[in-house]
Amino acid sequence: MTTTTVPFRSILFDRPSDAVERADPAVFTDLNLDQVFAAVTAGRDEYDLMPFFGAPLHDVQAVQYRHQILRDMEDEALSGALAEFAGHMREMRKYLEQSAKLRYRYQKESWFLDAARIYGQSVRALADALIAINPSSRGFIAFREYLAAYAGSPTFTGLAADIERVTDALAAVRYCITIRGSRVKVTRYEGEEDYGEQVQRTFAKFAQRAVKDYRARFRNLPDMNHVEARILDLVARLYPDVFSALDEFCARHASYLDETIRVFDREVQFYAAYLAFIAPMKKAGLKFCYPDVSAESKQISVHDCFDLALAAKLGSKAAAMVRNEFYLTGGERIFVVTGPNQGGKTTFARTFGQLHYLASLGYPVPAREAALFLPDRVFTHFEREEDLATLRGKFADELVRIRDVLDQASERSVVVMNESFASTTLQDAARVGERVLDRMTRLGLVGVYVTFVDELASISDACVSMVATVVPDNPAERTFKLVRKPADGLAYAAAIAGKYGLTYRQLKDRLNQVTP
C-alpha cells in the first residue's frame, strides 16, 4: 500500500478544525435549502445529517477534500460497496435493538451474536472492496488503510473467530421434542427418520404429476413465550458447552463496534445522500459540476445554473427548466436584478445563494460550469410576514434585519437581498436602497440585490444590472431567463401590450382601418 498516508480521522473533515457548526435556519428557508436538505436526508433520519449542513467549509483545501471523495463515489463499484455496507450496518442496528427488546437471556444473546456477525461480515466486505476498487481520494485512501489495519488486528480477528465458533456450534444443535397431551419431553436428536419422507417413499409409485402443496406457512415472531423458552432452557441443558460459549461471547464482546467505523458509517451518508438525491436529475439531463472555489478571487462565473429546490420539485419535467448564467469581472461585486414580477428574479437570487452555500458544503453544484467565491458566511434578506412580536412596522422591521446583516457581513460574505422595501414609497425605496447598496459596495462583499427600482441598477461600477426577460413571441410568458443588460422597465409593458394589440404601431394600424 501507499506509504505517504496520514492517519484516518474523518471522511468529512480534512482537519478537525474544519468542523464548525453554525446553524442559520433563516438562510435555509430563504434559499429553499430547507426543502433540499429535507429531500436529501429523506429516509436517512437515523444518521442525523442535519448538523453537517449547518457546518459550511471556509477552507479551499477542505472543499477539495470532499470533491475528491465525491468523485471517487461516482464510481458505481464504490458507491455500491458503500450502500451495501450501510445496509448491513443498518441491519446490525436493528438486530441490536431486537436484542435489547427481548426478554429471555439466550434470545437476547443470540440476536447480539447475529448483530456482531453482520458487523464482521460488512467490515471485511468493505475492506476487500476498497482494496479492489483502489480509490484515489485522500479520504478514502486513508480510510482504506485504517480499515485494512483494523481488519487485520487481533481485536477484529479474535472477534470474527469467536463469532464463527459460537455460531457454528449453535447451528449444529439438533434436538427432539415429544409432545404427548400436555407432556413435553426434550431430547437430543439421534438420527430418527423423517416421517414425511417415509410416507412419500411408500406412495411414490403413484406420483405422476406435480400436485398441490399442502404445507401451511407459519408466522414467525421474534420473541418466545414461556413454553418455547422452557424448551430452549432444556435444550441448553442438553448442550451446556454450546450455551456457555454463547454467554461468554456476549460478555467478552459487549462493545465490539469500532468507534471510527461507526462514525464513518454516519458521515459517509453526507455524500451518499446527496449523490442519490441528484442522480435522477442528472439522468433527466440536468448538469452538475464541482465548482472551482476560491477564497480570494471574486471573479465568479457560472454557466447553465438552476434552482435545485425547484428542479427537485419538478421531477421529470425539470429538464425543461430555464438555466441561467452570470459572471463578475474587475471590480464588479453585486448583481442588481430588475424586471417583471414572476419573471424569475427570486429564483435567480435563490440559485445564486444555493450555489455558494452548496459549494461551501463541498457538494457539486447545479450548474454546468462554475467558478465560485468561498464565503465566510451566506446572508439572506427576504421579505417576511409581518412579525407582530417585534411591534414594529414592516418597513422598520426590514431595516432592522438589514442592519443586522450588514453589521455581521464581511468582505468575504455573500449577501442575497430580495425585494425589500416594497412596503414603502418608491422614493423611500430608492433612497434606502441606494444607502444599502453603498454599504454593501464599500464592504466589498459579493451579492445579489433584487429590486423593483430601476435606478438602482446603475448606481455604481460595482453593480451589474441583470434583467428578467420575457418571451418575444408571447410576452405574457416569462422565460425566467436573466440577461446582463441595463434595466428597462418599459420593455415588459411594451411586450404585454403587443400581445393585446395595443402597441403604438398596432393601434395605429387598427385605427387606420376604422377611420380611413
Partner: protein
C-alpha cells in the same frame, strides 16, 4: 388407452371440434356412449377427438376393447371400484381448502383408509379375473396390480395408518433458528422400542415438563409446535392421497372409455346393426397410390341411433384414390354417406369398432369438415363470405395426411364461380397430400374432372331408379348435368302440380 402414456381428459380439444361435432352430429354418438353419464360423455368426447395415428396403437386399443366386450362384468366392476375411490374424499366431511396441518393429516388419514380398502377390492378383482384377459393392455394392468399391491405393500400402508395416530406422542426434531427459536420442525418416526426403553428411567436421556391444566397459552403453543412438526408429513400424506386419487381418476377415465364403447355397441347390436373392428392402414401424406378406403355395408351410426329403421349401408372401394367426388340425386344419401365416412374414420382412430361390415382405411392426420351451413344467424357476413372464411380457417389448420369432407361447398354463389373456387381449393389441397371427399351438385365442377380421367379420383353417384325413386345407395358413376330436383319437386308437390307448372 395407450401402451406408453396416460389418457389426458384435460387436454384441449382440437380447434375444429365444434365444426366436426355439428357436421357429423357427434353428440348423438356421444350420448349413446355416455348412456346418461356426464363423465362418460366427456371421456368419449376426448377419445373421439384425440385420434391415434399409428395403426399399432389402434390395434392395442382394439384388443383391449375386445377383452372388454368379452368380459363386460369385470369392466363394470373395475369401473365401480375406481368410482368409489374418486368419490371417497367427498365422504369425509368438511374438506376445506386452507387447513392446519393437523386437520389435513387427520382427514387425509381417513381418505387413505378408504383408498386402502379400494385397493383391496381392486386386488380381489384382479386375482379373480386376470386369467381371462388376453390383451396387452389388460394383461399389463393386472400384472401391475399383482406386483405393486402385494401383501407386503398392504402391510406397509397399514403400518403408516396406525402409527400416524400418534399413540406414542408426536416426535418432532428441530434446530435453532434466528433468535434461537426452534426451526426446521420435522416429524420423526419413533425408533423401534429397545428393551431398555420399556424400563422406566432407562429411556433416552432428556428432560420433561408438563403444561399445567389452566395454561391455555401453553397448550396452544404445543398445538402450534405439533402443527409445525407434522407440516411436512401432512403435506406428503395429502400429496400421496392426491396421487392415488389421480391414479383412480385415470383408471376411471380409461375404463370409462371402454365402458362407453360397450354402451354404444349394446345399442347397435340390439338393433341388429353390424359392427366390426376396422383395419387401419398407414398414414399417407402424398400421392394417391397408397391411400386406402374401402368398406362393405358402411352406414351412418348416428342416423341409425336416431331412427327406428336400419339405414342403408354402402359399399365403397376407393383404394388408390385421393379425391372422391360424389354427385347425384338430391336426398339420395350423399350427405349421409359423407358422414358415415367421417364417423368411421374418427371411430377407427379412437380404437373403436365402426358401423360397417368391414372397413379399411388409411389413418388420417386429422379430419376436417366443410359443410353447407344454415344462414349465419348473426347476419354479419354473406353466405359465401362465411363459407370462404371457414375454409380459410381450415386451411390454416390442415396438414398433409388429413381428410377433408366437403358437403356442397361454395354452392352459395352461382355454379360457375363456385366451381372455379372449388377447383382451385381442391387442386391446392390434393397437391398438398390431403384426401378429400367432395359432395356437390355442381356439374360444372364435377363434369370436367370426370372428362379428364384423373386416376386418383373416384366418382360416386347417388342412385336414382328410372322411376325417380331413390335407394340412398351410392354407386360409381359419372356426374350428370341434373340432380333430379324435378323428381323431388314432384314428390313434394305431387303430380297434380306438375300440370300447372308444366
Amino acid at each position: 388407452m395407450y401402451p406408453d402414456r396416460d389418457f389426458d381428459t384435460e387436454r384441449e380439444l382440437p380447434a375444429n371440434e365444434p365444426d366436426l361435432s355439428s357436421d357429423l352430429e357427434l353428440d348423438i354418438l356421444l350420448r349413446a356412449m355416455a348412456a346418461g353419464d356426464k363423465f362418460l360423455f366427456e371421456v368419449a368426447r376426448h377419445a373421439i377427438h384425440s385420434g391415434l395415428v399409428a395403426p399399432a396403437d389402434i390395434a392395442y386399443r382394439q384388443q383391449v376393447l375386445a377383452d372388454a366386450i368379452a368380459q363386460p362384468g369385470v369392466i363394470r366392476d373395475l369401473y365401480d371400484v375406481a368410482l368409489a375411490a374418486v368419490t371417497a374424499e367427498k365422504k369425509i366431511l368438511g374438506w376445506i381448502f386452507r387447513d392446519s396441518p393437523d386437520t389435513i393429516l387427520h382427514r387425509t388419514h381417513q381418505v387413505l383408509r378408504i383408498y386402502v380398502d379400494v385397493f383391496h377390492r381392486l386386488r380381489d378383482i384382479a386375482d379373480a379375473g386376470a386369467a381371462s384377459f388376453r390383451s396387452d393392455g389388460f394383461t399389463r394392468f393386472f400384472a401391475m396390480i399383482a406386483t405393486e399391491l402385494n401383501d407386503d405393500y398392504f402391510a406397509e400402508m397399514e403400518a403408516h395408518l396406525s402409527e400416524l395416530t400418534f399413540r406414542r406422542g408426536a416426535l418432532i426434531s428441530a434446530g435453532l433458528g434466528k433468535g434461537l427459536k426452534g426451526t426446521g420442525y420435522v416429524l420423526r418416526r419413533h425408533p423401534e422400542q429397545a428393551w431398555r426403553d420399556r424400563i422406566p428411567g432407562m429411556s433416552r436421556s432428556g428432560y420433561s415438563f408438563v403444561i399445567p391444566e389452566r395454561d391455555e397459552t401453553g397448550m396452544r403453543t404445543l398445538s402450534d409446535l405439533t402443527s409445525r412438526g407434522v407440516n411436512g408429513t401432512a403435506n406428503a400424506l395429502a400429496q400421496s392421497a392426491d396421487h392415488i386419487k389421480d391414479f383412480f381418476q385415470m383408471l376411471r377415465a380409461e375404463l370409462g372409455f371402454y365402458l362407453s364403447c360397450l354402451n354404444l355397441r349394446d345399442q347397435l347390436i340390439a338393433k341388429g346393426e353390424p359392427v366390426c373392428f376396422p383395419d387401419p392402414a398407414d398414414l399417407v401424406t402424398g400421392g394417391a397410390e397408397q391411400a386406402r378406403l374401402s368398406a362393405r355395408g358402411l352406414y351412418d351410426a348416428c342416423l341409425s341411433l336416431s331412427i327406428d329403421t336400419s339405414p342403408i349401408g354402402n359399399d365403397v372401394d376407393a383404394d388408390g384414390r385421393q379425391l372422391i367426388m360424389i354427385t347425384g340425386a338430391n336426398q339420395g344419401g350423399k350427405s349421409t354417406f359423407l358422414r358415415s365416412v367421417g364417423l368411421a374414420q374418427l371411430m377407427m382412430q379412437a380404437g373403436m369398432f365402426v358401423a360397417a361390415e368391414s372397413f379399411t382405411a388409411s389413418v388420417s392426420a386429422g379430419i376436417f369438415t366443410h359443410f353447407k351451413r344454415e344462414e349465419d344467424a348473426t347476419m354479419e357476413k354473406g353466405k359465401l363470405d362465411e363459407e370462404l372464411a371457414r375454409m380459410s380457417t381450415i386451411t390454416s389448420q390442415i396438414r398433409p395426411g388429413c381428410l377433408l369432407l366437403c358437403n356442397e361447398s361454395f354452392a352459395a354463389t352461382n355454379e360457375r364461380e363456385g366451381s372455379e373456387i372449388a377447383r382451385q381449393v381442391i387442386r391446392a389441397l390434393t397437391e398438398a397430400g390431403i384426401r378429400i371427399v367432395f359432395v356437390t351438385h355442381m356439374y360444372d365442377l364435377a363434369g370436367p374432372y370426370y372428362a379428364e380421367h384423373e386416376p386418383g379420383t373416384l366418382f360416386l353417384r347417388a342412385e336414382r331408379q328410372p322411376d325417380g325413386h331413390r335407394t340412398f345407395r351410392l354407386l360409381p358413376g359419372e356426374p350428370l348435368p341434373t340432380s333430379y330436383g324435378e323428381d323431388l319437386y314432384r314428390e313434394v308437390f305431387g303430380a297434380a302440380d306438375r300440370a300447372a307448372t308444366g
